[in-house]
């Protein structure tokens, strides 16, 4: 069996944290180097070697000379998971991590003498405003984006195509990873989680979208198992995979129905509030409302609308993703897409059990007392 010495970036990120145990379960992974920006607070297992560095630093990645030498002599594979995943990140910050960071890492990897694989974790968001059925092919940068995250992840793919032409590189575009399919536990609060929490608190009156727009969500288990399999056992240079719900997506209408049913079933007191589902509106109506709220300075709503503005307009560009190459590559591995209609409600239930009220919002219930 071929033994891998893997360098993992983004090890402290939402997905990176879940990738570490998955990589350690993989028998072919002999060493796992995790690139960290700060000294770790916890102890890692013996096969994990933390190295301090930062992909935003050109050439050296901010590594000590000793670690540069160690990695360039030993690393056989790179799993590039680091990214600035904030939808509302300033462009320069998103670019520094997602584009320049990827470029720096590719250049560093080109000096790794034993390197035989480099997997770049991208996102379905990189497809931007494209619509229709999207295949597992390189992106063309001509449709535009709704936020800097999409734009910079797309640019990163372009860098991988250009800079990585001389390297054994594969790209995996991930659907939105929302939680564990077995328990519903949420690995990290993302924009979707925060939006659902705001809906639960009656703070989302409308969202810019098309009612039946496909929403592509996957579980932590599916994402991590498939990534490790595609990296370690089924690597194929030049391949592009959609690791996503594909045809098992949820239409937005159904997703909202499932969320509101779950709120109601899990919290009878919530049902009594009779909170309406957000109305799906065109962008101009949403923008007029957002402008009005900004002008009136209602802080609780401003937070909600800023969050929605950062990603929901993507739901005006309906698209589905073909994952046939990914499924072909995973054939026989036993790794399957989870049933989204089962695990999404579990995740929502987990969300409302642990969620605190957002800022500016009165705790419930209000007491029937005269102030």
């Amino acid at each position: 069996m071929k033994k891998h010495h893997i360098l993992l970036t983004g090890a402290t990120g939402a997905l990176g944290r879940a990738l570490i145990p998955q990589l350690l379960q993989e028998p072919s992974v002999e060493r796992l180097y995790v690139l960290l920006r700060q000294a770790p607070k916890e102890n890692f297992p013996a096969r994990v070697i933390p190295v301090l560095g930062d992909i935003r630093v050109p050439r050296s990645l901010g590594l000590s000379a000793l670690h540069q030498d160690l990695l360039q002599k030993n690393v056989t594979g790179v799993l590039h998971s680091a990214a600035d995943t904030r939808f509302d990140a300033p462009y320069a910050e998103a670019y520094a991590t997602n584009v320049s960071g990827t470029e720096n890492l590719l250049r560093f990897a080109s000096n790794c003498t034993r390197l035989d694989r480099f997997v770049h974790l991208s996102t379905l968001c990189a497809t931007g405003k494209r619509t229709g059925r999207l295949r597992e092919t390189p992106l063309e940068n001509k449709h535009g984006f709704v936020n800097h995250y999409e734009a910079t992840k797309s640019a990163a793919e372009f860098v991988v195509q250009q800079e990585g032409a001389r390297l054994p590189v594969s790209t995996i575009r991930l659907g939105t990873v929302i939680g564990r399919e077995t328990t519903g536990a949420i690995h990290q609060m993302g924009a979707l989680h925060r939006a659902l929490r705001l809906m639960y608190c009656s703070l989302v009156p409308m969202m810019p979208a098309r009612p039946h727009c496909p929403v592509d969500l996957i579980s932590v288990e599916y994402a991590t198992q498939a990534i490790v399999e595609l990296l370690c056992n089924r690597f194929s240079t030049g391949s592009i995979y959609h690791l996503c719900a594909a045809r098992d997506y949820l239409p937005l209408d159904e997703l909202l129905d499932l969320a509101y049913q779950t709120f109601s079933q899990n919290r009878p007191s919530w049902r009594r509030r009779a909170i309406e589902r957000p109305t799906v509106v065109d962008l101009s109506t949403f923008e007029l409302f957002r402008q009005t709220v900004e002008e009136t300075g209602a802080p609780g709503l401003m937070d909600s609308l800023r969050l929605l503005s950062s990603f929901a307009p993507q739901l005006l560009y309906p698209k589905t993703y073909d994952d046939s190459q990914c499924q072909l590559a995973l054939a026989g591995s036993g790794i399957r897409r989870p049933n989204l209609r089962e695990f999404f409600p579990q995740m929502v239930a987990s969300l409302i059990t642990t969620a605190e009220a957002p800022r500016h919002i009165a705790p419930t219930p209000l007491q029937l007392e005269v102030a």
Binding site: V204, R272, L288, E295, T296, A298, P299, I361
Partner: protein, 312 residues
Amino acid sequence: MNNGITAIEYTLGEETLSLETLEQQGLLDSPAEQLHQFGFASCRFTRRSPAALAQECAQRLLEEKSIDPETIDLLIYAGALTCNHSISRRPGVMANFIYPATALHDSLGLVNANAFGISQTGCGAMMTAVRCATDFLHSHPEAQRVLVVGADVLPPGSKREIFYSLISDGACALLVEKNAAKNKIVAQKQKTKGFYWDCEKRKFELIAAYFPTARAIMQELLHEEGLHPEELSHIVPHNVSLRSWQILLGLCRMPTGLLFSENIAPIGHVVAADNFINFRDLESRNELKPDDRALLFNFGFGANWSCLLLQH
């Protein structure tokens, strides 16, 4: 039975105050410029009591329509502000029992009518009153007509802006009659959502709930009547702001051309009376043709969403 609204009269505060004047007098929370952008220009202010305004417009309605006061079967006095539901300034508990409804009953000579007041559905008070009037006529075969009177005057020294709406003082009287020849009440719908009862502490949630709930109640009413928005001739608003209506119509995918918005700028929000003042003006300008359908929508703190479909 064809219950309908056969007559409407209204009285507004005698002074007109521009946004700039109000701003100079410190009677606004928001800058005047912002309220201009929301569609307001001025409001009406009175030094008279709400009961006096109510008396004036109700008296005019009875006289102009030559209605014998003794033929009124029920008087409903509606108002959003609970402070307007006692007309006494005397000290002591007894003063709380001095009601404008029975004072009006006396002054108008409604000797055969019962009287009561509606005071806890906010700006939806007159809508609630029309609903009660319709239900009363349905359940009392001998009854023929109900007089609904709404009046709201902000307490002296109050700011003229509430929740980004410019408020006018005013009163409105209307007659709900059986076998009405015009303005037939085709359908009514109300939603109460108690979760939002504390409108100060839940103000952000309330702003968020306002729009989807408004959309839901209007769409449900149209659906139940088998109507599409394009079959309406007019949407008759409450005058909370033109901006909020632009947003709401976008939400409902209704054409903005349906909205009768002419009164928003000059008089702003006349609390519970807006819809009926607007409908009266629409009618008096001969903008309604026979069988035209008008949808009246209203929201009141509490929280209550109401709509009413009238066929001219």
